[in-house]
Symmetry: C2
Subunit: 233 residues, 2 copies
């Protein structure tokens, strides 16, 4: 049943991230497909079992390379994990960047963010589990992620909500909690997809199920946040 592992999805853009010193594969990269295969396999494993639970041997075997190659490219398990995360965060940022529209009403603006985030996560279903894992342990690693990636996103969303409130399009809600709820509705669904598949007896990541989820979120959002002419307050 739907408890098969969730495959990692490669980057949609062929151009790679700018060079980082000390990392061979980003400088010359004669065979980028191997590095990709390692990254995608690692993404899947880390999402499923976490940094501590994933096994280097298994990642190497699944990626069909010798495990020494992981060290040749990434230096250590932690570094590999960091690269998996950073790759996804970079994709998320560009994805959200692409989906935003500064013109348009606050409602259209917010819906752009919500749909953008939902699109990204449905294209990268491992992302929520990887981030959830980071977010659940209170280490300094977390602070770094928050400062560099999550806080900017949350602040944008919060501002979008506040603009909607001052424009009178949204109800007078708590912006912080509303953003949390928005993120939760998408993130939880994909992070708990194995559970929901088991629970419903059908694959929660099937495209039809995913679109159903999107509709449910937009519906809830519509009647939970937006002030319509026919509704009070």
């Amino acid at each position: 049943m739907a408890l098969r592992p969730i495959p990692a999805v490669p980057a949609e853009t062929s151009k790679r991230t700018p060079a980082r010193k000390g990392l061979r594969f980003l400088q010359n990269a004669k065979k980028p497909e191997t590095v990709q295969r390692i990254l995608l396999t690692a993404e899947r494993m880390f999402a499923e079992r976490g940094l501590a639970g994933a096994r280097i041997d298994e990642i190497a075997a699944d990626a069909k390379v010798n495990k020494a190659l992981l060290y040749y490219y990434f230096g250590s398990k932690r570094e590999l994990h960091r690269h998996v995360l950073e790759r996804l965060f970079a994709l998320l940022l560009t994805s959200v960047e692409a989906g935003r529209q500064n013109k348009g009403s606050p409602k259209e603006n917010l819906l752009g963010y919500v749909n953008g985030y939902f699109d990204f996560v449905s294209r990268h279903p491992n992302y929520p589990r990887l981030v959830q894992r980071e977010v659940m342990e209170c280490g300094k690693h977390l602070a770094w992620i928050v400062d560099n990636y999550l806080r900017p996103l949350h602040q944008r969303l919060a501002r979008a909500v506040e603009r909607g409130i001052t424009a009178g399009e949204f109800r007078r809600v708590d912006a912080q909690h509303t953003v949390t709820t928005l993120i939760a509705m998408t993130t939880f669904y994909f992070a708990a997809a194995p559970l929901l598949s088991e629970l419903w007896g059908r694959d929660a990541l099937h495209p039809r199920a995913v679109e159903g989820r999107r509709r449910a979120i937009l519906d809830f959002l519509e009647h939970g946040l937006f002030r319509a002419r026919t509704r009070s307050r």
Copy 2:
């Protein structure tokens, strides 16, 4: 700041779960407080770092017992982990059982569940992280948890939603997705509490913050689910 570990909370009832054969501490239990201390420490560690990430030596040291005592009582790391989970599930079931009210309108009924779940989670903030960890990996362990604990709960909630719809009190929403959203709004908040604390610069588990979250959820629920006279559809 708010990145301190989240303490585990002991059972509210003094009576223990019925005896299981093969487990010394449940049969005679001359010093139940030691067993409790082990369980609560393990709960905190497993929530923070997961089964694979938590260290037996560290749990023993934090619980101020000799490591051999963990094996004396629980036999293995996995068994200890299983007991931590089962203890919490048992508490959850009794807690939800206590909070339900079959009389009353569908709305009151559903609110009873939502508040009951919220109360339980806010009293046991480690629960969401422990369960989230289980739910994210697709093992057979998951199927067992779902069948025994999660499915019954979800079904009750789904029926509560459906009754509200047929009674005309709720909008005509998808019951499954609505339940998922209800669970998500509470679960995600507490599971991601370390993140939110970091993000907001204040402790997300502080009682005032927790009550703020409850209000936000109920508000969202009110305007997202319930059909009011003044609202359309």
